[in-house]
Symmetry: C2
Subunit: 110 residues, 2 copies
């Protein structure tokens, strides 16, 4: 099994921001792109919230939920509904976009 604790995940995200995305201020810096995997979703929320300089409590107020709920969304993220994702990122003034990519070759009808 690969190293998989929370610290490690956060590190990876932070490294990404600095190394892959570019310096703060550049337009590139303000667009993050991740694969949609539930394991990182929580980190995405946390990362954007931090960028916005908000506490969990403040973000909670924007949405109308308790800070404990935000905490759970940021950590326990096993499965979440789209509505929740949208609600959170809307409050963070972040656009969420969703792409579906299909390559002909990959599909063989049985």
């Amino acid at each position: 099994m690969a190293t998989k604790n929370k610290k490690m995940k956060m590190m990876t995200l932070d490294q990404m921001k600095d190394k892959d995305i570019g310096k703060v201020g550049t337009p590139e810096r303000d667009k993050y792109e991740f694969d949609l995997r539930m394991e990182v979703l929580g980190d995405m929320i946390k990362s954007v919230r931090k960028e916005r300089k908000l506490t969990q409590e403040q973000l909670g107020e924007l949405i109308g939920v308790q800070k404990s709920q935000i905490s759970k969304l940021e950590r326990n993220t096993k499965n979440v509904t789209i509505e929740t994702i949208l609600k959170v990122f809307r409050a963070l003034k972040a656009n969420v976009r969703f792409s579906v990519e299909m390559n002909e070759s990959e599909f063989k009808v049985a």
Copy 2:
């Protein structure tokens, strides 16, 4: 209120495929990008399923659910979990990706 029935939504999608995305066979044709909005999610599933020439029943078999469930995902899409989205598109051999975009200017801390 804008015209908002199902027929219209499907039309829009189909038009998109032909006009905006390009001819079948080109690599561009096989990548769709949407804002993450729940209203279109069902249409996305339907659209990709059709592309794969599958019936709801066949798609259901791939995933392990009844055709009625697929129907619901395609129409009633009010809210869905990420897991479900991934499950469906994985069965359709489509890559799903998810990006978060934030522009500095849009956010004013109150």
